[in-house]
Symmetry: D2
Subunit: 306 residues, 4 copies
């Protein structure tokens, strides 16, 4: 296959203050499947159109935020190869034993210059009720709530964006799809390892290891509007949207889970190829880049992170 190495953003582990409220939010509202309320106290979720066992892990804790983000690689050997390249680059590489997350093989982990813990893994069990593959119907059951198909990407805030961008492109073989450049240098990087506009993105922030949002894919702009109706009906804390990003062109709405972690549901965006040129945004047009319709920066969107 021509798509090798890192395949995609595979999971995100989030901290929530109250698990019951979190499940109402992620299962009933966003529409994720409840896979497993694990003996380890963590809860495992998945979008209905994902083959792997889980993609969202919720852990009850005293403060919201992201524990780690995991990327799936194509083959077990890739873990060794990337571990070596990451060490060569100068980062420490740790190991997580197989089974630490139920159904997941061994992982390698490392902290990138923005302060975030990133993990790579090659193996995850197939979901028991995943997408159909024998004369398949569209879905087993009519999708629920916001009808999220899958976990798609995260946006992370922290320092050292140029370093992080270089690390992902040089070491993990990502491509820089879009960049925001100021007279003082790069302040945001949108990075992809496949045909999506981004699998992970980073925005400059003085504090390390900050979580901006986890994003879930919807089918269409129609479903973005439907998500907005649900957000209004159930008094979910809305951040901004429905709108469109200039960067990635995604049609989007942002809101907060009951613990204050930001979520996005989105649709659309262009198809990225390795021969696509880097799209570049300048500081004076950043408002348009972030919110294509509003064309202005929003303090809450820029400042509130977990």
């Amino acid at each position: 296959m021509a798509l090798t190495g890192v395949l995609r953003a595979g999971f995100v582990q989030l901290r929530v203050l109250d698990m019951k409220e979190a499940l109402t939010h992620y299962v009933d509202r966003i529409g994720l499947e409840l896979v497993d309320q694990g003996r380890d106290g963590r809860v495992y979720l998945r979008g209905y159109d994902e083959f792997d066992r889980h993609s969202v892990i919720l852990r009850e804790a005293d403060a919201p935020g992201m524990d780690a983000m995991g990327f799936k690689v194509a083959r077990k050997d890739d873990l060794k190869t990337y571990a070596a390249r990451i060490k060569d680059y100068g980062l420490k590489v740790g190991k997580v034993a197989a089974g630490e997350q139920p159904g997941v093989g061994k992982r390698i982990c490392f902290v990138i210059p923005s302060g975030h813990r990133i993990e790579l893994y090659a193996e995850m069990e197939r979901a028991k009720n995943g997408p159909l593959i024998e004369n398949p119907d569209m879905w087993r059951e009519d999708p629920r709530g916001m009808r999220a198909l899958r976990f798609d990407h995260c946006l992370l805030y922290g320092p050292n964006i140029p370093e992080v961008s270089k690390f992902f492109t040089k070491v993990l073989d990502f491509a820089l799809a879009e960049t925001v450049e100021t007279p003082d240098g790069q302040i945001a990087a949108f990075l992809t390892c496949n045909n999506k506009a981004h699998d992970v993105a980073f925005v400059m922030h003085k504090d390390p290891a900050k979580f901006h949002h986890a994003s879930f894919l919807l089918d269409s702009w129609h479903d973005v509007g439907h998500a907005a109706d649900l957000i209004a009906r159930y008094n979910i804390s809305r951040d901004i949207g429905p709108t469109r990003h200039g960067i990635t062109r995604g049609q989007t709405i942002y809101f907060f889970d009951p613990s204050g972690n930001r979520n996005e549901v989105f649709a659309g965006g262009y198809v990225y190829y390795p021969d696509s040129p880097v799209r570049t945004w300048t500081a004076d047009q950043l408002g348009k880049g972030i919110f294509y319709y509003e064309k202005e920066l929003n303090e809450r969107f820029l400042g509130v992170v977990t």
Copy 2:
């Protein structure tokens, strides 16, 4: 970049009976950009969201059909590598000089067991009026006609489907996303080299080198409906749709260009990854696979090719 080797279906060269009528169809109705009416008598077109110079080539001829389908590879070296692998596999490999198509580098060409001429190339000039990349707007101008974003894939008819499927997966590093299996063996293969459900597909047919359709990507089911309105308004010969495919899940409408070549415009479809299982269809459910709503085979769709 984790996406290497063959990147995508890059161009299709079609024969048309009357160039003027063809341009009304492809430019005004489907909404492609007219790039160049070449001195070689061929006309070069492109979807408004494509970076490369052209993706559709029209050649006036006495009979409709497809001359060749071209795939873009990531690097010039790939051409050598694939040429060697194709020869090893047992096919003859020819060369096409750089510039034979304006703005395109050297190509290699070969005829696959279904009788179709396939080409690989690594270099094509960037379109002069391609997508914007500096603080980019969505598009330069509001898209026209059916608002086709890009040439997406072809479906080709011919013999030796299992051979062709094997060739694309073993030699060109494609993945088999979906297959149709009968007691007499595989009769259709949907092959991808990236995150799309297919870049090219093959269906068994007694005659070699037959062309079923060239497909163009739309934004949404809404635009599929709008395409249907245009087809009705301008008396374009409609084949079937709006409907959905079981195979690939694409939302689609089929119609014919004035020369009798079948076109598709479509939206949607799932995201394919190398770790996605092969979706398998059996002969008794093929109707549902091809037309998810109609659930029945359609003689014209199966039989009319150019």
Copy 3:
């Protein structure tokens, strides 16, 4: 109010062979609300966006079809006025006591020249869980299944179409929005009493009192596609669609309930006003009028009625 007299198609009473199967169909699939499984053996349903208590009545019987279609008038006095006008026109007018349908006031009934039983009523109780009106949300709960908002209209088959058309326009103050004219006279009439393209329509058929379909309003073409996905997923017997009507411009899909009664869910259509000209279709273009995309008549659609 400038909208007086007959307000709208208010209810349809249908015969079904198996009530349990019918409820799965109308409640779980189409998404109607179950109002009441009456002591009279009839079941009462309503679209989630309707204020009145019910709009669909199901009665278990040995043969499918329609018992009666009811239109709501603005005021109780209208019943007297219309009764007199209907008698003047030459039809017999019967009375149905208040409460014959739970929550419905007295009705008048009559059989029109096509053989159908039509009823008028002025009073129906407000639904207990109808649309919100105090600082209202969009809906109480996220709509279910096909997300039908309301019962919208019926298409009825029978003889004497010109007579029926005249009766509705001259006696009941409807307007003829569209008509199909052949050298032998009018064969179809689309009749409205408000801004919709039709509240009831009639097509010529040799047998009297035939039921073609009951139609339910959806929000959008997107939801028409979603209905098609549900029809495919649950193996509901599909008739035709998704497509568009030339007549009324509605975007539509047709299917059958488990008893063989045809249903439609649709979206769109133009806004009709009393000063809109009559749209006229000729026999040679009837295919386009009925199915704007297919542009051809369909024997099943024309011939299968209950």
Copy 4:
């Protein structure tokens, strides 16, 4: 016909500072048809799906704003009837000669307690290139720009809202579809004369005769998003949206014409009937009523009028 008296919001006459810029805005961007650049200096426009000759009149002036809003009545006799009723109510009624607007019959005019000039007319010539009626296609040409189908309603600001509300319901036979009530009384009224949620609305403002916006109907939420893309692409001054109103449920985006007059394009909204209850909003929920997603008042939306 059961729909009598005042049929609909029929025209609005707006003042613009620069006619050339205004035409680019209303014709190229919103997509209205240019009917006539009259010898009287006024320019006449129409939505592509309107039968009457024109519905928007632009007049070059030193200050933006609305000259008058006109409602069409069903019959010439209605003009006399309403003139008498309006005089009985205590307002002065003036006359405008037939032909003052090309193709329009005689009008009556009066100033309502909010300070706005309202006109009634019964006759307007049919548009030369209006909607097709003989075996009609959807449209003559693929709609342009934002693809506005028709002028739909205005929102006007001024004092004496309860008086205005009473006038429209008691004298002009409108219905109050929605109202905003505060401890100090009614501050907004949404008034309809047909099945729309509103044909005209009024919001309390200290200054009389203020114009908030003229609104144009779109096909769908998809087209609201497309309008937003055009607004961004052409740097049209955006006010707010895409969003949804709690009041009327319309899906909407607001923006300004080059002279500072506010426009809306919208889709959706419920179907109103005379037996629909009045929807009531309280002051504390007004934010949700105006912008269902934002749930907060917006100073610019409330304060900027022409």
